[in-house]
C-alpha cells in the first residue's frame, strides 16, 4: 500500500550484546532515564497501589453521597466525584486496569504479528504478498475507529475492548518483523546455517527470531503508551471499560460535565494517564535511539 520502507540495513546484527554497553549508552540519554524512572514508578503503583489506597471500596461500586464533589483535602487527596467516590483511590486502581489492558493487548498483538511477519518475510512470494495485503487492510483504518466498531459489535466491556484493540494492533508488529527478517535474510549467517543443513524452522527460531527481539521490544515500549491512550479513548466514548470499574477514560468522561464545579474529577486521572504515557514514550524513544543503527554516530 504505502511505499515499502527499506528495512534498516543489518538492523539487528550489530546490536550490542553487552548489557553494560546498553546501560552506558542509556545513561548518556537523560530523557530515557527519566522515562525509565517514570515507568518503574507507574508499574509499582499499578502492582502495589491498589493495596494501599485510602478508599478501596470506592472502586467497586461504593458511593458516598454525603461527600460528593468534595474539593481535594487531607481526606480526599484529589477530591471526590459526583457520587462521592475518592478520585485518588480510583485513579490509582485505574492504573492497574490500564497497564493490564495494554500489556495483554501487546502480548496478543506480538503473538499474532511477530510469527506472521516472520513467515511473511522468510517465505516471500505469494505467502508474503497475502499476509502483507491483510496487514494493509487493517492498517488502513485507524486503530481507534476499528476498535470502536469491533467493541460496538462485540459489546462494551474490558475484555471486548482488549480483543478489539489487539485485533487492530498486530499488523504493526507483523510489518516490523517482516522488515527485520528481510534484512536478516540477506545476512550471511542465515546462508551459513542453510549451508550446514539447518532446517527452515531451526533457522527461523534459532537464527532469525532472537535477532528480531530487540526492535519488537522497543516498539512494544512505545506502543504501551499508545495502547493505553486507545483503551482510554474507548472508555471515554463509552464503549470500553464499563463503570463502576475505575478507568481513566471513563473517569475523565464522567467529570467532563462537572468541569466548572469540580475540575479535579477529570484533571487528575488525565494527568496520571499523561504521566504514564509520557514515561513509556520517553523510554521507548530512548531505546529506539540506542538500538537504531541509523542513528549511530
Amino acid at each position: 500500500m504505502s511505499i515499502e520502507i527499506a528495512p534498516a540495513q543489518t538492523a539487528t546484527v550489530q546490536q550490542e550484546h553487552n548489557l553494560g554497553r546498553i546501560v552506558y549508552r542509556f545513561r548518556q540519554t537523560p530523557l530515557s532515564l527519566v522515562g525509565l524512572a517514570m515507568v518503574v514508578f507507574i508499574v509499582l503503583v499499578g502492582i502495589f497501589g491498589p493495596f494501599f489506597v485510602p478508599f478501596p471500596e470506592d472502586t467497586t461500586g461504593n458511593t458516598r453521597m454525603e461527600a460528593r464533589l468534595s474539593e481535594p483535602d487531607d481526606t480526599y487527596f484529589w477530591g471526590t466525584d459526583e457520587v462521592g467516590r475518592d478520585v485518588f483511590s480510583r485513579t490509582v486502581v485505574a492504573t492497574r486496569t490500564s497497564l493490564l489492558i495494554a500489556v495483554i493487548v501487546l502480548v496478543i498483538a506480538i503473538a499474532i504479528g511477530v510469527p506472521l511477519g516472520a513467515i511473511s518475510g522468510f517465505m516471500g512470494g505469494y505467502v508474503d504478498e497475502a499476509i502483507m495485503r491483510i496487514t494493509d487492510i487493517f492498517l488502513t483504518v485507524p486503530a481507534l475507529v476499528l476498535a470502536m466498531a469491533m467493541a460496538t459489535a462485540l459489546g462494551s466491556g474490558m475484555v471486548n475492548a482488549m480483543i478489539a484493540i489487539s485485533l487492530v494492533w498486530w499488523p504493526g508488529f507483523a510489518r516490523l518483523t517482516r522488515g527485520q527478517v528481510l534484512a536478516l535474510r540477506e545476512q550471511d549467517f542465515i546462508e551459513s546455517a542453510r549451508a550446514v543443513g539447518a532446517s527452515s524452522p531451526r533457522i527461523i527460531f534459532r537464527h532469525v527470531l532472537p535477532n528480531v527481539l530487540s526492535p519488537v521490544l522497543i516498539k512494544a515500549s512505545t506502543d504501551m503508551g499508545f495502547a493505553i491512550l486507545v483503551a482510554a479513548g474507548l472508555g471515554f466514548i463509552g464503549v470500553g471499560v464499563q463503570p463502576p470499574r475505575p478507568e481513566w477514560g471513563v473517569m475523565i468522561s464522567e467529570g467532563r460535565n462537572m468541569l466548572r464545579e469540580a475540575w479535579w474529577i477529570s484533571v487528575f486521572p488525565g494527568a496520571a494517564m499523561f504521566i504514564t504515557v509520557l514515561g513509556f514514550n520517553l523510554l521507548g524513544d530512548g531505546l529506539r535511539d540506542i538500538f537504531d543503527p541509523r542513528m549511530r554516530q
Binding site: 553494560g20 554497553r21 552506558y24 549508552r25 554516530q297
Partner: protein, 348 residues
C-alpha cells in the same frame, strides 16, 4: 624543492575518543610532512589511524579530542573555526572518499552538486545564495559556474558533460561517480588533494583508470596529493613518497624507491612480505602473527612490539624515537636504528 617550506606539516597529533570501554587513544603522536609536488601515500591496516590523520588536515574529525598542530602553508588548521575553516576547506583542499555511491547526494542532480561546489569554492558566496531561492537570484553567477562545471567534467573524462549535468547520481556508474567527486574536489583549485581509499570500492580496471586520472591531474595542476590506502600495489603505482602507519603512529616515512628496495621498519618489511607477488611459492608468504593493537589498552613502548619478529628486550618500555637514516628523506621509528640505545642495552 628542498628549500621550499612543506605544504603540510603535522606535529605530534594525538586523538582520543571516549567510549563505554574507556578512552581510546587513536592517534599517538603523528608527525608527517607533505611536500609540494608530492603524492604521499599513507599506508596502513584497518585502524592504523590513516583516515583520522587525513581528516585532521581538513579539521573534519567526527568528534573526539584532538591535540597537536596541523600546519598548512603556514596556518594552523586546527585553530580554524567557522567561516575561516570553511573557506580554507573550500579553497585549499579537495577530498575524495572510498565509496563513490554514498558520497553523492542522491536527490540532487550532478549539475546542482557541482555548481554548489563551484560557487562555494570559487566565489565564496553567502549561504542563502546556494539555497533554492538563490537559484533565481544568481542566474549570472550560476551560468558561469555551469560553464566551469562542464569544464571540470571534461577534465575528469566524462563524455557529454553538458547533458549529464541534469542527471542524477544513480544514472552514473561507479567509476563515473568517482570522477564526478574528483571534479567536485577540484572545483576550488585546491593545493592538496586528499584521496581516502579512492579505488577500494572499484574493480581493477576502473581502479587503474581512476589512479591514472589522479596522477595526471596532480601533475597538470601542480598540486600535491595525499593518498590513503591499504594496498601497497596502489602506492607503487602513483606515489612519490610513502608513510607507513601502525597503531596511530607513523613508523616509517620514505621515498617510494626506498620503501620497496630498502624498507627499514619490521612492520614495513612484514607488510611487504605479506603481499603475494609474482615469484612466490606456497609457503613464501608470511603473515604478521597476532592482531592489530587495541586502542583502549595499546601495547606499551613501541605499539608494534607484540607482533614484531625482530623485537628487542626493551621495545616494550618506551616508544622509539624517530631517526633519519641515509639522508633526511628516510625516517623510521624503531629501536633497531637507534644505535646508541642498542649498544647500551647490549652491554647490560
Amino acid at each position: 624543492m628542498t628549500t621550499q617550506k612543506p605544504l603540510v606539516q603535522i606535529n605530534d597529533l594525538h586523538l582520543y575518543f571516549d567510549s563505554f570501554d574507556g578512552q581510546s587513544h587513536v592517534l599517538d603522536g603523528v608527525n608527517l610532512t607533505v611536500n609540494r609536488g608530492d603524492i604521499l601515500g599513507i599506508v596502513g591496516e584497518t585502524g592504523s589511524g590513516k583516515t583520522m590523520t587525513a581528516l585532521s588536515i581538513a579539521n573534519l574529525m567526527p568528534g573526539g579530542k584532538l591535540t597537536g598542530e596541523v600546519w598548512f602553508d603556514g596556518e594552523n588548521v586546527l585553530q580554524k573555526r567557522g567561516a575561516d575553516l570553511r573557506r580554507f576547506r573550500a579553497s585549499r583542499l579537495g577530498m575524495i572518499f572510498q565509496n563513490p555511491t554514498t558520497n553523492l547526494n542522491p536527490v540532487f542532480t550532478i549539475g546542482e552538486l557541482l555548481i554548489d561546489a563551484i560557487l562555494t569554492q570559487q566565489y565564496d558566496v553567502a549561504g542563502w545564495q546556494l539555497m533554492s531561492v538563490g537559484k533565481w537570484l544568481n542566474r549570472g553567477l550560476r551560468k558561469q559556474a555551469r560553464e566551469k562545471a562542464i569544464e571540470l567534467l571534461n577534465l575528469v573524462g566524462i563524455p557529454d558533460p553538458a547533458q549529464r549535468l541534469s542527471q542524477y547520481p544513480h544514472e552514473f556508474s561507479g567509476g563515473q561517480k568517482q570522477r564526478v567527486l574528483i571534479a567536485m574536489a577540484l572545483a576550488g583549485d585546491p593545493d592538496l588533494l586528499i584521496a581516502d581509499e579512492p579505488t577500494t570500492a572499484l574493480d581493477v580496471a576502473i581502479q587503474a583508470q581512476i589512479l591514472r586520472l589522479i596522477q595526471r591531474i596532480v601533475e597538470e595542476r601542480e598540486m600535491s596529493a595525499l593518498l590513503i590506502t591499504h594496498d601497497m600495489g596502489v602506492v607503487a603505482k602513483i606515489c612519490t613518497r610513502v608513510a607507513v602507519m601502525y597503531g596511530g603512529v607513523v613508523v616509517e616515512d620514505a621515498p617510494i624507491e626506498a620503501i620497496f628496495s630498502n624498507p627499514q621498519h619490521p612492520y614495513t618489511r612484514g607488510l611487504l612480505r605479506a603481499i603475494p607477488s609474482d615469484e612466490m611459492q606456497h609457503g613464501d608468504l608470511q603473515g604478521i602473527p597476532g592482531s592489530p593493537p587495541s586502542f583502549l589498552s595499546p601495547p606499551s613502548g613501541c605499539r608494534f612490539h607484540p607482533r614484531c619478529p625482530e623485537r628487542l628486550e626493551h621495545c616494550h618500555i618506551a616508544p622509539p624515537a624517530v631517526v633519519h637514516i641515509n639522508d633526511e628523506s628516510h625516517s623510521v621509528a624503531c629501536y633497531l636504528h637507534t644505535d646508541e640505545k642498542r649498544k647500551s642495552f647490549a652491554r647490560d
